[in-house]
Amino acid sequence: MDERRLREVALTPDEYRAILEQLKRAPNEVELGMLGVLWSEHCSYKSSKALLRRLPSSGPGVVQGPGENAGAVEIGDGWAAVFKVESHNHPSAIEPYQGAATGVGGIIRDVIAMGARPIALLNSLRFGPMPASSRHFEGVVAGIGGYGNCIGIPTVGGEVYFEECYANNPLVNAMCVGLVRTDQLMRARAEGTGNSLVLVGADTGRDGIHGASFASLELDERSSERRPAVQVGNPFLEKCLLEACMDLSHTDAVIAIQDLGAAGLTSAVAECAGRVDGAGARIDVARVPRRERGMTPYDVMLSESQERMLVVVQRGREREVESIFEAWDLTSAAIGEVTGDGLLTVFDGRDEVARLPVKLLTDGAPMRRLVGFAPEPPYGLDVDALPPPADPGASLLRLLASPNLTSRRGLFRRYDHMVGDSTVIAPGGDAAMLRVKGTRLGLAMTTDCNARYCHLDPHLGAQLAVAEAARNIVATGARPLAVTDCLNFANPDRPEVYWELEEAVAGLAHACRLLDLPVVSGNVSLYNDSNGESAIYPTPVIGMVGVIDDYEKRLGAGLRVEGDFVLMIGSTHNDLGGSEYLKVEHGHVAGRPPALDLTREKAVHRLILAAAQSGYLHSAHDCAEGGMLVGLAECCLLGGIGVRCPAVRPEPPLRLDAAFFAESPSRFIVSAASRAMPEMQSLARRHNVELSLLGLAGGDSIEFEGQLKVSLAELRAAWESMVAV
């Protein structure tokens, strides 16, 4: 086999030999292309599958774990939350607007395929420093807004960080959350020999051919030539597709719905059949509605044209389904049927053009055995050598103005975060919350990852990401339920990168086990490097959902009542390693990330949830990046109320800079009326959690007697310095 041809379909000579062995003949061109896309890292997880098995994926509330279009957990009253996060990093690097837009479109279809109505979008973004990365940043933000705003699904949460390591490899992870009655959850299984395969939505064009393979390579100077591998989104069409798919619940003629995403028709048909033992499929590409003339069977099978779904329909009832799509002026075409021979057979009219075992496509890719090797640890940090903060107030202002900590209001107002009339906690605080209409349930959701911690210690960093996401959920008063993860890493062929991946997955598994959080869906994005260098920080993004039984008991992050006691829950240590303070004030990305005790973390969650449930709290905020002082400033700015505090006198060995700026985990800043103090103190004792008084809410500045006093106006000016971006 010509090596150049193999490279084009992103197969290695070893993989080609495996194909020959299993197929016992040489694949033809169409078959080679189909195998190439499905055996790509993006589709086959050949480098990561063994690791992913370590993640806990079951639990009492799980109604659908990994392996489907999205995961699902029960949230009460007969409802399930369906959710998944997915990366669109490579396309967004080349064509930021369309890359991000189609990333959003793709994740929405994953949720639709489960029979759920998508109710919310979130994202997690990484860019190089501004203004150099403004092409990426502007394009991605506009693309996310362009798609989400048009389709009418609110974008309610997200995070964005700026670090040098993402300058050539921005990360664009999109998460979608949907709702479905638990008994109406769909699964994309091609059941029933003879049932029809109906392709609906957009016509098929030549766009996105080899997209999945492209996403499985490092970027290089020729990557921009791959722009045709980036698809173009049509959110209007997807809106119609969404509503038509919702209308499918009116008929029981539908067996399954499957999204056409990476690797297009090939993947959709193979995956649908692959989930049923012994099932196969016979399809005719001549029946696929096309956007342009002259497309070959190869083009049709590999196209990644957006806004398409495959629907498995009971034989003889195709007309019922077609009429639902017709009402939305959508094309649908019966392109084939389910078979019982375990083969995916492709015809072009009468000519057979491909015939491959389904299992060869979906499970045949040889798993890669990669070797991890711990690199030199990043350089340490001698905390004792750091000078004490000369002016904590000035440090606070610089931190609030740092790109990683500034208010994201300027971003969230570019996204419609209200459509649907369900957003009861808007973006800008910790987690967002949507009510489930017709119930008292509130569904909290967040995305989180501090990749700097993961760079310094991937095992601990991944645990911290899970813990912080959980804290975001808990801060609203909701119980964390389950996780979706997006593992963004560099080239795993490099032992130090594979080691990062191993460590991060182990950390993730450990934290999820201890916090009882099953990982029900996820995605892996590797090869986020350019020209063999400038690898990204390991970035295991955590998406999480949680539930509160009565959303009237939800908590916001902002202070609400003058005169309230402002409390720190949890204890502070000299955790300056990897902190934003260290980077902004001392120019270091160094040291060990904060130590995490998951048992203590859990105890703190229980305390906050008990206090929220009993109505003792007026607000709660996760104390994270920037430490206590930044967290407190956020509470003040979000609530429009200042705080007066006595001077901080840390007990040795705690340092003053750490008391203000250390990022010790398992901490919350809460406010409560003075009359609730006895109850709060007894709750803290019962849960064996430290509770300390920071100060009293009131005034229009943050004051620590004799140490700092900064007006809210000054703080806001610094914090909102990015609004103009």
Binding site: G145, F236, V419, T423, V424
Partner: protein, 234 residues
């Protein structure tokens, strides 16, 4: 009172408006499909927010040709209540039921945020429950909501008092800083001369319950519902 909410392909505030009418206000609700040639006996037609037909070409430019719009035009001519919200306002302007046009926001960006609206007319069916010069807190969500009209049209509108809502600060002052999109004269909503057709960019259906951040929008829905009561009584 029977409300009819029009659904174009690409409309997304239909269900939000429907929720307020049906679940919050307990009024009769029916959805009107863009291909419908019958308004099903509705007393008030709402053209809700969204991106009708994708808003490709120009916002509202294709929607005005929908079969249902012919009936909506006839209904308006007969004095029926027609209420365009966001995309619906854009459609009403394209259809010629209201003067002027909505152009790209001055910021060139989509904006989803809370605004304050000074109510300038309280004698309309849509605003009868509002106080004189009342300030309503209502969110916007649009990329093309900057109201534009030629000087003659604008002065005509002002002279006849057709400006119903203006963006203002929390104290009711109509100042440039309170204008989120560059609308001429801070215009957020206008009515036709007869007062039975209202177009507004802000979304009252998003602030009709306390848990969503405010209930000022409900005053407008209530006004419409009450106006029908009055008709029945008189």
């Amino acid at each position: 009172m029977k409300f009819g909410v029009v659904v174009f392909p690409g409309t997304w505030s239909d269900r939000d408006c429907g929720w307020v009418i049906d679940q919050v206000l307990g009024q009769e609700l029916t959805y009107l499909w863009h291909k419908d040639a019958d308004l099903k006996g509705c007393d008030c037609i709402i053209l809700p927010g969204g991106f009708a037909y994708g808003d490709y070409l120009r916002t509202g430019a294709i929607a005005r040709f929908a079969p249902v719009m012919e009936k909506v035009g006839e209904f308006a001519d007969r004095g029926g209540l027609v209420w365009g919200i966001c995309n619906g306002f854009q459609v009403l302007c394209e259809a010629g039921l209201l003067p002027g046009a909505l152009i790209r926001n001055a910021s060139l960006e989509f904006r989803c945020e809370w605004t304050n609206l000074a109510v300038e007319r309280t004698d309309l069916a849509f605003t009868s429950q509002c106080e004189e010069r009342e300030v309503l807190r209502v969110p916007i969500a649009h990329g093309e909501g900057s109201y534009f009209a030629d000087p003659a049209t604008l002065s005509h509108l002002e002279q006849r008092g057709q400006v119903v809502f203006r963006y203002c600060d929390a104290n009711g002052r109509v100042v440039p800083n309170a204008n989120p999109n560059g609308s001429l004269h801070n215009i957020a909503g206008i009515a036709n001369a007869r007062g039975n057709v209202l177009g507004m960019m802000p979304h009252p259906e998003r602030c009709s319950e306390a848990e969503l951040g405010g209930t000022d929008g409900l005053k407008l829905f209530r006004s419409v519902a009450e106006s029908a009561m009055k008709v029945l009584v008189s």
